[in-house]
Amino acid sequence: MAAIELTGLSTVYPNGVRAVDDLDLSIDDGEFFALLGPSGCGKTTLLRTIAGLERSSSGTISLGGGDVTRTDVGKRGVAMVFQDYALFPHMTVAQNIAYPLRVRRASKQAQQDAASTTSAGLGLAELLERRPAQLSGGQQQRVALARAIAMEAQVLLLDEPLSNLDARLRLEARTFLKRLQRELGLTTVFVTHDQAEALALADRIAVMADGRIRQLGTPKDVFQRPADTFVANFIGSTPMNLLTGTAHDGFVEVAGARLASPDLSLADGTKVVAGIRPEYLAPAAEGITGTVSIVENLGVTSLVTLECPGDVLVGLTVPEHEEPRVGTAMTAAPAPGRLLVYDAETTRLL
């Protein structure tokens, strides 16, 4: 178990792609940490660089206080679970789990013990004699986890551990993974492009884009106060409304409406982007008015899209049974304190 410290870390591929770009990050001992970002932003590369599978071009990596930047992969004490699980097809589940011990030439007895104790904790005890091909996707994922745990590494790295599971199983595996991480108290970094997964599992999230971290914070921080419009757009199961407008003393003018804004003492007429989550918009007497154009059923709520003056589309969620009819007019206002104001030029939160 160990903290991870990255300073000025860059990884450049031979073809010139800077997949990780001058990145500083510290992850605490025992933390469950998520790397979140769109496809191609460098999450996998960062994880592989921490593991030592890619060479960093500059910067340092330290694990548990010791510099491992130039340490061999096998000596870093880092366990990694790959997206395809990478189980050895010709070995039984027990042999797969015990493989890290076999590499260290542990006794047969020690290997068996490791396989049985680790597998018991992951509900695999019945499956020890099977081959990977005879397991379901969820079981394979747990075998891969068991093998990583059997390594008794300082740090556990997971690359999209849940993405090969179907939606239902993914929810179960998510709960399972969180409980397991709590029990082991193992510093864990996992990569995902699914914001819901990151919000649900992680103690802290780093949102990445183009090899850099855009925002670092707890799921609450990241969800409630996205640091820029990129993060705002990326986080949340329904996309945040980002409406361009201008700031005036104490309010912002967007989509033909004047909305109360936090006191930012902005110069009159400053170009801004107002960010409001559809969940924080509710029907009101005064506010943004538009014509209902689409109603999407989300289960407990429905997502209503309003067509506002100037061809601006605004989404809001309404409780079930309160859906407006398509074509009718509707007015909505943000919940107090839920309006975020971004600088239109820098896209940063003001």
Binding site: A51, V73, G74, A86, F88, H90, V103, R104
Partner: protein, 296 residues
């Protein structure tokens, strides 16, 4: 597929007559140049046919005499043993290990290095035997040979003093390309994430090959070993280097057969030995196939 199932199914819808018409030229050629000579060899093997003398005009049927004679012939035993040494040394070990080693190392080499090495290895494989044999004679010659010049020694006649060792090194060099290419493509099919998992748990190169790579490519290893063993056992190029000498020290079976037939003129006897070589080939092939089948 047998003729009977063809007739009942006729999957191509050609009609039997037309189908036969299509394949008959090929069958005719195969029959004329492969099947007939093979059967003819068996027949000659049962006679005392010679190159010159009365038996060349009117060979007599002698039954199994040639085969029984081979069992008593110390030179035949010698040739059999040398063939075994040649196959084990240059094919099963030499080409196999070197080919795998090159494929394994080149996997992570720079593309330029990879291309150059592959091209060189392939070159050794595609050059005609006569050219290659001449080049190696030039390398191994005692007087002015390249190897002696490099070593700064003037006294070793490699092909005379170490004929089998020279042949084994030569044939390893000559045939490694096939194993290298086969193993390259086999290795490409091993999932990288499994190799990387082995790396993260700290497996050494040897442990990775033994535990992860080998189980994936076992079928390729068997197939490759079968092919190169058979090719090596039947290879006649050694004749061009040492002609079996000195004093039968490098006389593998194909060379022995040639010597018996052409130098000694014993066509009947050499045909019988050829047949025995064929049997050895079949036995080896069957063994490998059995191993392959047991795997799956």
């Amino acid at each position: 597929m047998s003729a009977a199932t063809n007739r009942t199914r006729d999957t191509s819808g050609l009609g039997v007559a037309r189908a036969v018409a299509f394949v008959s030229p090929a069958l005719l050629l195969i029959g004329l140049f492969l099947v007939f000579p093979a059967l003819w060899t068996i027949y000659i093997g049962l006679t005392n046919y010679t190159l010159t003398g009365p038996a060349s005009v009117a060979p007599a049927f002698v039954g199994l005499e040639n085969f029984l004679g081979a069992l008593d012939d110390a030179l035949f035993g010698n040739a059999l043993w040398l063939t075994l040494v040649f196959v084990l040394g240059s094919a099963v070990l030499g080409q196999n290990l070197l080919g795998f080693g090159l494929a394994w190392v080149l996997r992570s080499a720079k593309p330029v290095v990879r291309r150059v090495v592959e091209a060189l290895v392939l070159l050794a494989w595609i050059l005609p035997s006569v050219v290659v044999a001449y080049l190696w004679t030039a390398v191994l010659d005692r007087d002015g040979g390249t190897l002696n010049a490099l070593l700064g020694n003037e006294s070793t006649a490699w092909l005379v003093e170490y004929p089998m060792a020279s042949l084994i090194v030569f044939n390893t060099w000559r045939g490694t390309a096939f194993s290298m290419m086969l193993y390259s493509s086999a290795l490409a099919a091993v999932p990288p994430s499994q190799l990387e998992t082995a790396r993260t748990v700290g497996a050494s190169g040897w442990q990775t090959v033994r535990d992860i790579v080998f189980p994936h490519i076992r079928g390729h290893v068997l197939t490759n070993t079968l092919l190169i063993s058979l090719w090596t056992a039947n290879d006649f190029t050694p004749f061009l280097l040492t002609a079996g000498g000195p004093n039968h020290e490098s006389e593998t079976l194909p060379v022995f057969i040639y010597q018996q037939a052409i130098t000694n003129g014993e066509l009947g006897y050499s045909a019988a030995i050829s047949f025995l070589l064929l049997i050895v080939n079949l036995v080896v092939a069957l063994l490998y196939l059995l191993l392959l089948r047991r795997r799956s």
